[in-house]
């Protein structure tokens, strides 16, 4: 009974902490980018100010918007919140974790994507349809690559459950897995594509020729937009957390182990900060590619993940 209570406490702590931290991570990435561009930057708390501003505004809806269009931000936010609750970042053995393995996790992202694309097409503007189609193109190429990456990790620990994967890497004697090098490269590529970061999409531009994600949410305002922005930063956080969980799980606590918690939080914050800075650097040194090059980019990610699996069979069995 006691373990269940502390498990639930850990679960709530992790979910709330990640939701509150997500805009900070986005602010940190933006700030690092500004520093790398020799700019002063808006400060790491800027996303919170944007959210407050948006929440205080009155929402405007298109005349022909259906319930679907109105509900989408809530569904999106709920999906991302659920996803970040499932990924073991603070502790393993959380009560939520058995609810979904890595395949279901990809499914949650797919659900959010479908809702987003449908809502974008709902009001019938040209930009919405265009953005939705592009998003689905990217999504259908990124998903198999993501699954293959996760399968490589699953092959090593013989389970598709994220908790088992993390447990296997974090609490076992250290070993080098060459196949994980391939998986990591593929994962970074998928992460950039899925989160509309620079080689695929530019998160700060509204240029109609290139935008993907921004085109879909062009019609949203006020609290709806705020929720979408928040969900976007949550998605980025979730992806970085999946990366941390699979590739750098060291320092993670076990659920109910209150003594290990401070160390786990510090380790998590350090890893998130490092990942954010790395993301900013990666975005600085690469240029946005044409949208027709995106399939090539993502098929490369898929091939790398496949290579990872092949290397696993050659070197590690």
């Amino acid at each position: 009974m006691n373990t269940l209570v502390s498990g639930i406490l850990f679960q709530v702590l992790q979910s709330v902490l990640m939701v509150l931290l997500a805009p900070l991570l986005l602010g940190w990435v933006n700030q690092c980018r500004a520093w790398l561009q020799n700019k002063k930057g808006a400060g790491i708390f800027q996303p919170y100010r944007t959210l407050r501003k948006l929440f205080n505004k009155d929402a405007i809806l298109a005349n022909n918007a259906t319930v679907f269009f109105q509900r989408m931000p809530y569904v999106l936010f709920a999906c991302m919140w659920l996803a970040v609750g499932i990924v073991p970042v603070l502790a393993t053995g959380l009560p939520f974790s058995p609810a979904a393995d890595v395949i279901a996790l990809v499914g949650i992202f797919a659900l959010a994507r479908v809702f987003q694309a449908l809502a974008a097409m709902d009001i019938g503007t040209a930009f919405g349809g265009l953005g939705a189609r592009r998003e689905m193109l990217i999504g259908f190429l990124a998903e198999p690559a993501m699954l293959m990456t996760l399968f490589t990790a699953s092959l090593i620990s013989q389970s598709t459950s994220l908790v088992t994967i993390v447990d296997n890497f974090a609490h076992h004697p250290f070993a080098i897995y060459p196949s994980m090098a391939f998986a990591a490269a593929a994962f970074v590529m998928v992460m950039l594509a899925e989160n509309a970061r620079i080689p695929i999409d530019n998160p700060v531009t509204h240029l109609e020729l290139t935008m993907i994600h921004e085109a879909m949410i062009l019609e949203y305002s006020a609290r709806h937009l705020a929720l979408i922005e928040w969900a976007t930063s949550l998605k980025l956080t979730t992806y970085i957390c999946i990366g941390i969980a699979i590739f750098l799980p060291f320092g993670i606590a076990k659920a109910g182990d209150w003594m290990a918690l401070p160390l786990a939080i510090v380790a998590l914050l350090a890893k998130l900060a490092a990942a954010g800075a790395g993301l900013a650097l990666l975005e600085m040194v690469s240029a946005k590619i044409r949208i027709f090059r995106a399939p090539e980019f993502l098929s490369t990610a898929f091939l790398l993940a496949t290579l990872g699996m092949l290397t696993h069979f050659l070197l590690e069995v």
């Binding site: 080098i176 060459p178 090539e296 091939l303 050659l314 070197l315």
Partner: protein, 220 residues
């Protein structure tokens, strides 16, 4: 997993070798291609060094030194000089689209891995598992030579193939005898010089380094 740490490190560098091999296959710019080649050679040097330290094969230290000087420093520097002199900055042209090439590459890797499995079971070296990657590296470099049009990228493919062969020798039998290795090193160096001269002659004759011009035997 009962592989010792040195074996794990060798496996890791083998994986990186394959990764760089694929990056070379996907690379469109000649400049980056040369840098990738230098990187591949450097990974090769590292893995050979680990093999040398863990198995106490003294002659491997010499081949590490030769490879480092020749393939990490001298040949990339020579290639950089060539492309500066030839004023080559444009993108590499390929016969087949790059995604298709990558798919072919995956097929080659699967083929190589299957090919190497019975051979590596016969071998008793700590590095025997990496033989498949070495063969895959050779085949990938071969594929690059076939699919590229420009002389410079074909030469880089040739050099990458030599890297793969070197790695295969190290992983199957802890390297070839020193005399053979010295001979190959000299061969590669001489080949580089001759290739360099060829580059200039091809360009003088055809005004381009595209080898399709050489298929015409007569001037029309």
């Amino acid at each position: 997993m009962t592989i010792p740490l040195s074996g794990q490190l060798i496996n890791l560098s083998a994986a990186f070798l394959l990764l760089v091999g694929f990056a070379m296959l996907a690379q469109r710019r000649i400049l980056s291609l040369i840098n990738l080649f230098a990187m591949q050679s450097f990974v090769l040097v590292l893995s050979t060094l680990i093999v040398a330290i863990s198995t106490h094969q003294h002659h491997l230290y010499y081949s590490v030194g030769i490879t480092f000087v020749l393939k990490v420093i001298l040949i990339p520097w020579l290639l950089h000089r060539f492309i500066r002199k030839l004023n080559l900055k444009w993108d590499v042209e390929t016969h087949i689209a790059i995604p298709t090439t990558m798919l072919l590459g995956i097929v080659l890797v699967i083929f190589a891995f299957n090919l190497a499995q019975p051979i590596s079971q016969l071998s008793g070296t700590v590095t025997r598992h990496t033989l498949g990657i070495a063969i895959a590296g050779v085949l990938l470099a071969f594929l690059m030579m076939i699919t590229r049009r420009k002389a410079v990228s074909q030469v880089i493919g040739f050099l990458a193939m030599e890297n793969g062969l070197f790695f295969a020798a190290t992983s199957a039998t802890y390297g070839m005898p020193l005399v053979v290795e010295l001979g190959i090193a000299l061969d590669v160096l001489v080949a580089m010089v001759i290739f360099g001269i060829f580059f200039f002659h091809i360009r003088e004759a055809f005004d381009s380094l595209d080898l399709k011009h050489m298929e015409q035997l007569k001037e029309d």
